[in-house]
Structures are given as C-alpha cells and as structure tokens.
Symmetry: D2
Subunit: 358 residues, 4 copies
C-alpha cells in the first residue's frame, strides 16, 4: 500500500494506448507533427480561447520555463514559503530565471492571502538595491492539499494587475483542484487573472506529460527558444502530445482526478473519525494530512504502508503537532484502489482501539 505520492505509478491504460498508436510510422520531429497540432487545438477548446502550449517532460521544467518568461534576471517572484518552486526543485527557477529571486511568504495551508501579498509588495523598498517584483506564483492544489477558491484566485489576480506582476499557477495537480471546485479550466485560470499555467498530467495518468499553457501572448513569444535551450524540446514530440490525446479523450483526465479525490475523501473521513487523530488541513483534493499519535504512525509503517511525514510550518498556531504526534501526508491517485484505502483504515482503527484498551 503506497500512499507516498501520485507519481509512483506508471501511465494509465488510455494514455499508454495513445502512445502505442502514435508510435507507428514516420512523422516530423520536434512537435511539428499532426498529433501535436491536434492536441494544441484541443487545449484551445478546453480553455475556451486561443492559448499557446509548450510540452515538457517534468513539472520542474514547466515551472522554471514559465517563470523565466515572466521574470527578468534582476526581478523578484513572490510565492509561498513552502512552494514547490522554492523548496523542491533544487534551484531550477533561479537557474532558468538567471538569478532572479524567489520571495517566500507565510500562509496557512501553503495558501497566499491577497491582502498579505499586497501588503508585502507595498512594503518593499523603492530603491535600486531592491529587486523589483515581477511575478506571483501560486500552487493549485497547494503543497498542503488545499484548493484556492475562485474568488481567492481573482483577488490575487487583481493584486498582480495592480502591481504589474505576471500571475503564474503551478498546476501539478490542476485537475484535482478543477474537479474539487467543479468549475471550468477557463474559470480557474485566465478568467481570474492567471497569465501562465504549468498544466500537469503526469501525476494524474500521464507517462511524462506536462504543458505550459500561456494566456498572455507576450509571455509566449520566446518560450520555444527558451524551451529548446533548456533541452526540453523532445525530438519525438508527438509521443508527448499523444499522451495528452489519450488523457483528454472521454473525460479520462477528469475521471482520474475525481477518483483520486474520492479516495482521499474516504481516507480523510475514516481517519479523522478515529480518536486522537485530527487533520492538519482540510482535505480538498487528493492529499490527506492527518496528525496522528506516534504509536499509530509506527503501526502503519509496521504494516508496510508507505507515506511521508510533513512539515508543520503552515499549520495554524492552534494546531501545532504535539510531542507524541506525527504530521503525515497520504496521497491518492487515479490508481489508488478503494480496498487499499479500506485496509489502511481498518489497520488504523484497530490500532487506535488497541491503544485505548491499554
């Protein structure tokens, strides 16, 4: 039972099938093929407008490339202090942005509040010693499994426009947020002020398929050059495009995310029902962050269940993790089996009873 992440399984059947089909025969290299063209048109439909799409193979590359076209080398990019771009990418954004700086702000559940971002921006020194802020980046779903509401995104978008910042969304779990909100991709992005999006598919059924979706043409201008010089333009590019074709067909992408979220809800409700267990943050997508007794932590691990512990930095003061507690992260995916979730819950519940009995 592996709840360590949603990138530990391979591609889903439809995605794999699409690769098989696209593999046959000769086609133009470097995404100049028919499949890539079809898929780019499909993105226009999905986002209800003309968008520019660039395929890459990792979320790190998607984020770093997107930011490199929004932030000049002397600029500042504001994000949450726990953001994936600042914590988990070994400096890829700084590399692609040529030394531009990431400024990490605090915020409960790894969410940024528009008024706090505005206050931070107003407080920056107006002097040449201060790198000028050029972009804001948010993660939807956040690193604590929370989902920005549409009006929260709109409020952040308004701050960006007011201060002349580009607005980037790290959508490594874009679809999980989308189905959680029950809105359209357009409503969750450009209609709320998002300028450029890292659109993840790998965690939700892709083999290796991420896309940068650009809503502001000026940000798309040089991305093909930037992508090439980053070694991100795949020669057999049709085989990235094909994954998206399989991904989008018959709402497969939405189904995968709904399943993952459903499994997380099941897990979340089951665990939070146990005495001595509470949630660090509400379960809004496909990640559960329970605070559990250390004895239970040991028991789950002893049962061979794989998952990671998490940092409490974005917990509300009132929710600090106790000395005999552990904050853990359980991630579900399109491939998570309900029986595994139920087994985990049984193990947890019997362990809790056993402890109570002692």
């Amino acid at each position: 039972m592996n709840f360590a992440s949603d990138n530990i399984v391979g591609a889903s059947a439809p995605v794999l099938q699409a690769i098989m089909q696209a593999n046959a025969g000769a086609m133009a290299a470097y995404s100049n093929d028919e499949i890539s063209k079809r898929v780019k048109a499909r993105f226009n439909e999905i986002f209800e407008r003309e968008v520019s799409v660039f395929f890459v193979t990792t979320g790190t590359a998607a984020n770093a490339l997107a930011l490199s076209s929004a932030v000049p080398p002397y600029g500042l990019c504001v994000c949450h202090q726990e953001a994936h771009i600042i914590d988990d990418e070994c400096g890829a954004p700084e590399f692609f942005m040529h030394g531009a700086k990431l400024a990490g702000l605090p915020g409960m559940g790894a969410k940024l509040k528009s008024d706090e971002v505005a206050a931070y921006l107003q407080g920056l020194p107006k002097a040449v010693k201060q790198m000028p802020p050029k972009a804001l980046s948010v993660s939807q779903v956040t690193e604590c499994g929370m989902v920005y509401a549409l009006d929260e995104i709109a409020a952040l978008g308004a701050v960006c426009r007011e201060h002349g910042l580009s607005f980037h969304m790290d959508g490594a779990r874009f679809v999980n947020a989308l189905v959680a909100l029950g809105c359209t991709p357009a409503e969750m992005t450009w209609k709320r002020g998002v300028d450029i999006l890292s659109f993840g598919a790998t965690k939700n059924g892709g083999l290796m398929a991420e896309a940068i979706v650009v809503f502001r043409p000026d940000l798309a201008e040089a991305l093909d050059y930037r992508s090439k010089r980053a070694g991100q333009i795949i020669s057999k590019g049709r085989l990235i495009a094909a994954q998206f074709e399989g991904y989008f067909a018959d709402d497969h992408w939405l189904e995968n995310a709904r399943h993952a979220n459903r499994m997380a809800k099941l897990l979340s409700e089951g665990l939070s029902g146990l005495s001595g267990v509470r949630l660090g943050w509400p379960t809004q997508a496909n990640e559960v962050f329970p605070i559990i007794p250390q004895a239970l932590d040991r028991a789950l691990k002893a049962a061979g269940i794989l998952y990671n512990s998490w940092t409490e930095i974005s917990l509300p003061e009132s929710e600090r993790v106790g000395a005999d507690e552990a904050l853990i992260r359980l991630v579900t995916s399109w491939a998570t089996r309900e029986e595994d979730v139920r087994r985990l819950l049984e193990i947890a519940s019997s362990e809790v009873s056993r402890q109570a009995a002692e």
Copy 2:
C-alpha cells in the same frame, strides 16, 4: 519515403514492450527504482568499468549538462565549427555552462585534427582577457557522417590531457559509430581518453532515452543536482530506464545500428555509381551526403522523397558544390526499409538516364 532524419520514427518494438512491462505497479519515483538500478549496472558491464549514468530525455540536455560539469562559467570549450552543440541547440550549452564560450574550429567532414587543436590551444593568449580552455567536445558520428578512428580519438585525448582539458564525446549516434568501427564501447571512449559521454538511444530505437555516461568521478559529483535544477529528473524515471533495458537486450541496439549503417551503405553505393553524382564525404555510418545535379534533386523531391540539403562548409576545397549541383543529406535508421532504399535508387537512376538522353 522519409530520409530526413533518424528521429522521425517512434520507438522500436522491444523498447515499446519494455515500457509496457515497466509501467505496471508502483515504484519509487525519480530513478530510485529497481529498473533504473539494473540498467545502471548494465552500463557498467557495457563499458567494462564503474561508470556514473544520468538519464535525460534529449540529446541537447545530455550535451549541455555534460559540458556544464566540465566547463566553469568563465571557461572555453573547443569543438568543431559545425558541431551540434554550437549550431543546433539554441545556446543550450552556453545556458547550462552559465555563459562559458564554445570555440568552433574548422575541419574536413566536421572532424577535428589533434595537431590543429593543439596548435589552436598553444596560440591562445596567456592573459586574463582570454577565457581559459577547459574542455574539448567531439561528435562521434560527426555532423558530416564521418567516424573518428580509434587512434584519432586517442590523439585528441592526449591533447586534452596535455592541456588539462576534459574530453566530451557527443554520441547522439554512438552505436552507429561503434558498429562501424567494430570495437567495444570502452575502446571507443575512456580507453582513448574520453571523460564524459552523451550516449544517445533515441535515434536508434528509443522513445526518449539519452544518458550521460561519466568516466571521471569528479565530473559526476554534481550532475544529479545539475540535472534536477535543469528539470531533467523524470518523476517516473523507471520508464526512461526501461527503454534502455529493452534497448540493450539481445543486442537489439547493435542490430538496429547495423541495419541503419547497411541501408546507408546500399544507398551510398547506388548513388555514387550514377554519373554526375559524387559523395561529399565517405559514408561511414548511417548518413549519406551525395552531391547531385539540381535536376536530380528536383526529381527526387517531386517523387515525394523527404530529406534535407546540407552545408558545404566542411567539404575539402577540391570538392566544392557546383552552381548546378546540390549537397544533400540522406539519413537511414533501424526502421528504414530496404525496398524504400531500392525505390529511391531506381528513381534516381532512371532520372539520371533521362537527363543523359536529353
């Protein structure tokens, strides 16, 4: 009939099969899986020694990452003036090397001569205004389809050692050179002084599978960090590794290259037998560079045969392309069908006869 490149077809059956198999079930992400470990061990066998292996998805990334660990930002990297790294990668090496410079030297058939490299290095000003040379990069197979002989590689390796340069080999078509020379991977690389290798598999049957193979431990030290910050560490890394597993099994990689070279030889002999047709450079691997009458060029294109024209910059003075001639490149691959080669030759030969008759 598509002879434009060897990256226009998908993956070969065994490679695709390997992906299918590796796709099932959950495994550790970021190449910490069993398959990746197995494949890295396989590289040790293939190169008859302990090597460090880093998987990436493009040849550009392999070259740029390899060079970034051999050349500091203030350093110089010597290569041929037609090298892929200087001409075809939109500045990826300069990006990854943080502004280090590529110095392109001339040479027939896109080959560097050891004495000319040595003379160039000796001639460099000994002053702080001069970026110090830190690496030499050669392409095996070269951009003109030629193959460095083992003693030529050894001679270049000796120059590198004498001048304190790291020696990089761009092996986008590594196997095509290998089977052409009939030697072992070890003999063509570290036994001749090569320190770091871009090992290509994509053009010879892979889906997207390139590897950086490092023979000098100090050059491998930081490559995992560099790779991560370049967005090149694939989360489902086992599916890159799996391609190599399929690739290496039962000499599949060698068979593919032998077939591609054989097809090139067939094409080369057929074409050079026609009156008015000569070869720009000898056919040594899987690329043919005939100089043909422009009328024949038009006829081949009219017949729907796809291929590219080429630059004469690396032709010997005596072989300059005439006003009514065209220098073209025909590339064969593991997927090239002998019947297509024969049809091309028939079309060419009948066209040449037709012209003679006029």
Copy 3:
C-alpha cells in the same frame, strides 16, 4: 549634520594624496604595475601570511565575486536574513553565483549563532531537490552595528569545516570591528576559520577601494578570470592600489576607524542617557541604533539632521518598537566632527526636556 551613512564623504587626505602621486607617468595597466605589487605584499604583512588579493571598486562586487568562487551555481549560501548580500545588493550574489541561493537565518542584532547554523544545516533534506550548502557568509560589523567576538567567529568557522562550507566575511566595516576588538586582522579572520574576506576601505577613507582577500588558495584560482568577466579589472588599476597605500600608511586606516567608533560611542552614551530613549542594540562599532520617541524623531529631522530609520526584525522580542517610537540608525565615520555629535545631543536633550515639560 549627515549621519545617513559612512559613504557620503569623499576620500581622506592621505588617500587622495596617494592618488595624486600615483597618477604621474606611465605604468603597466590592469594592476600589473609596481604599486599594485607593493600593496599586495603589504596585505601579506597585514595578514601575517601569504594571501591573494583582488581589487574591486564596490563592496557589492567584492561580496558577489567572493561568493561566486565559494558557491557553485547549484549551491546554497547561508547568511543572516538581514545580510547586506541578501537585502541590499539587488541580487548581485545570485547573478555572480549563477543562480545559487542565499538562505537567510534569523538572529538578534543580525548575528548568526553557530549552534543555530549547525541545527539548520543538519535539518536540510538529504535529497537532490535540496540545493547543497556550500558557504556561510557573515557581516563583520553586522547590519545592526554589532561585532562578532573572536570565539563566535571561531565557532562558526568550526561549523563550516564540519559541514564542508566555505566561510566568507563581509568586511565592509572590517576595520571598525578590528579596532573594536583590539585584535589583529589575522586573529579576526583566517586564524578563526575565515576562508575569504571582502575587505572594505571605501567607507573608512577610500575613494573607491575594496579588496577581496583570499586565505584558501583554491578559492583564489579563478578570481582573476571572474573579476575580468565581471568588468571589475580597472585599466588604471594602480589608482585603486594607490588608495590602499595611502590607507595603510602610518596606521591611517586604524586611526580613521578609531575616530569613527569613538564618535559613535559619544553619540550612543549621550542618547541612551535621555529619558524615553534606549538602544536597539549595543553600540560596538560606528553605528548607533537608538529607539526614540517619534516626537524626537520629528524634531531631529526638523533640525536638518540626516539619518535613516531601521527595521526591528532583529530586535529581541522584549525590545519591540512601540507605536509612538522610531528605530533609527546614526552612522559615524572618520570624517564625523565631534562638534556635530555634540550639537545633535544638545538638540535631542533640549527636545526631550521640552516634551517632559509639556
């Protein structure tokens, strides 16, 4: 009366005199002249060992160049969250380090505690997503006017050695700290584990004269190339060197710093004696950070006294600035006149009395 900074006055007479003298006649350019050689030898004497010295024109360049040779592009540099390098240089270190990251830790008076640095380093994830720590940088004098004691420097040096970090000291006010501690340059640097030093002279009497002093030969290797490509090698370099010659002659540099510190002490004692006035941090060099009533702040400004307000981020919890208070910084220099200090104190004291009388 200008207490805004110690770089608002020109060069001191002996420094200016030295420039005049060195200006005559023809000499080799780019610091290959006799004066530069003499001054470099002088640095060896001053630091009681062989050191490598590189002249630059700004403290920002000195810091950024020094760090660029200690931290690779994928590395992390630990410093205080208020450090000049992270706050006041518009990303120069990130530029020169090619995207390496600065990690700012908290600490009272802008000082880092060795045990807290050690704890931070131990807590870093051991994973490729984490940029590896490569250097520690401290400011002596700190941004809050405090001076590291010799054993504090030694303790930080020990942490650096234990964790394989290079140890950089930003000595923009090096001499002010030196005379405050009453030790030798050697005792305050390499004898306590410092590997590379930004040695400032501009604030203490120079025209534009900063030097990078390197104690670990490997860190000096490429600094001439790095300096040249940063546009920091002055063609008439002897005129930077000459400033140091005038600076070091007859203990001029020490005298200047002693005067500046004495003026600060006078100011500090006078102000802290006034009711309603306290010091944010102890006055240890040539900067005074009083917390004063806002009415007094207004009165001083009304009297035409120039100075800056400061941030309370590095104040101890117990010392927070009240709603009707202001934290200000008063900087003294070699050129500060005692009469100006006394006049400021008179103005302040009469204002405080006036307020009491109300």
Copy 4:
C-alpha cells in the same frame, strides 16, 4: 617611450582637479548627488537630446551591461570577429547576457560592411535551434584603428531596423573617432541609428570613467537594476561624475583626442615614409599599425620602446605579413609627447638606413 596603449597613463590634470574639488564635504551616495545630476544634464546637451546615462568604471562593464539590456539570454549579438567584446573581455558579455551568443563576422580593418551583415542575417536558419539575432555591436574606433564613416554607420543602422536588431556602439575611443570625422556626437550616434553607446573617457584623460548612453528609452528601463546587481553602482558616485565634469569643461575631451590623433598622424607619416615599412590599415585615429621588417622591430624594442604586435586576421589578402616582417600597434594618447614620437622616428629611420647600408 611607451606606445603600448592609451590606458597606461593616469588622469589628466583637469580631471584630477575636478576629483579634488568634488571630494570635499558630504553628498548623497550612489549618484544621487548634484554633480551626477549636472553631468547627466550635460550629456543631454552634448547629444542634443534627452539621453539616459549610467556611470561605470570599466569599458568592459559598459559594453557588457549595454548588451545585456539589448540581448535576451537566448539571443544572438552580431559583431566583428576581432571585436573587443568577443576577444578581450573574458566572456563578460556572455556573463551579463546570461549565455547569449556573440557571432563574429570577418571584415577588413575590423569593420563590418552593412551588406555583409544583411546577408549573414538573411542566411540564418529560421528554426528554433537558431538563436535569434537581437543586436549588432560595432567598435568606433575599430580594433584596427579605423573609423566608420557616417554613411557606413547609417547603413548598418538601417540593417538593424530592418531586422529588428538593437544597435550598440563600443566607443572606448569615441572622441578619437569624433574629432577624426569632425562631426557632432549626435551625428555619429542616434542620428545614424545607434540605440546604445559605451562612451569611454578613461583612455582619453579619465581616471576611471565610462558611461553607458542610451538613446532608446526601453533599453534604459532596467539598466539601474542591472548595474547595481553587477556591482557597478559606486557608493561615492559623484567622484565618477566629477571626472566627466572636468573632462567636458573647455573642450578638454576634444583637445585630448585631437592631440592623440595628431601624434598618431605624425608617427604614421614618418614610419610609412621609410623604405620597407607600410601600413596595415590607414591611420584614422590614435593608433598606428605599421608592417615593419623584423630587424626594425628588434631595433625598436632594443631601444626600449614599448608596444604590442598585432594579428593580421583583418588585413586584406594583398597585404599579408611576410616571413621577415612584423605587424605592430603603436597607440598615442593625450599624454604622448611629440619629442617621443620624433625620437622613435629617428631611431627607426637610422635603423632602416643602417640596414640598407649593409
């Protein structure tokens, strides 16, 4: 007798005098002072329009900063293959441009021809593998001592506009060209299409005083940030500005250049009159490039005359340097004494007679 360069002497008396005067008293740091404001206004007069001016301390910094605002990291900058920026700055432009590439074209006398530049630009592949050309940089005076005529500058400016390139002029010897052409600064720059200029003063009487003069506002936007992060904003900036004040007063800058050019003319006519001596390129400013018998070369050196040999790469085919000849460079400056020139000529002429007599 030192003819090695025009940066081997110190500052001229008026410049030094101006530094002395500006040194007294306290003024705002970082070029926010009155003198800097005055001098910037003076630049507007000199260029007959509103310009943006940024002071730096080296020509390398001026060039690299100027180019960094004209060329994005993925772009190409076209220049002559002997340009100072490509040959003599240890990769500073590539560093400041974050990996953008310099493409060096050939041209007699280190001059670029507009039709050849246009042909080069048209010939570039229209593909993502090709870094897009973004700027053209010329040296006025060129590295071979030649001066672009006004219509030649205009023709290059037209090519830049047609191809969307920014036009940079490296004016390390700007005034020497100016007085040679007898035109105004405006006529030699923006009126002919130049967008951004490296305006050198150091070689012509400054201590360390270079300026970036920007004619296109968009290129000036971020230069203050770029300059700060490059460590080029001097804290006592008024002392750079002051040099320009002394430099511009009473046509001092023009007089200095006229003298230097006159000395070069004298030298040039004297040497070219000697049998066996010819000029590699016409003497148009303050540099003389005679091709002399090696015996004469030895004799001049034996007489203690300092100068450098030069490369023949930009000589016309017909003028190649013979086996017993040497191509040398003699540089004159504002400080060159006519008696030294005459002594050099006597030595040369008697040596030539002596040889003839043998």
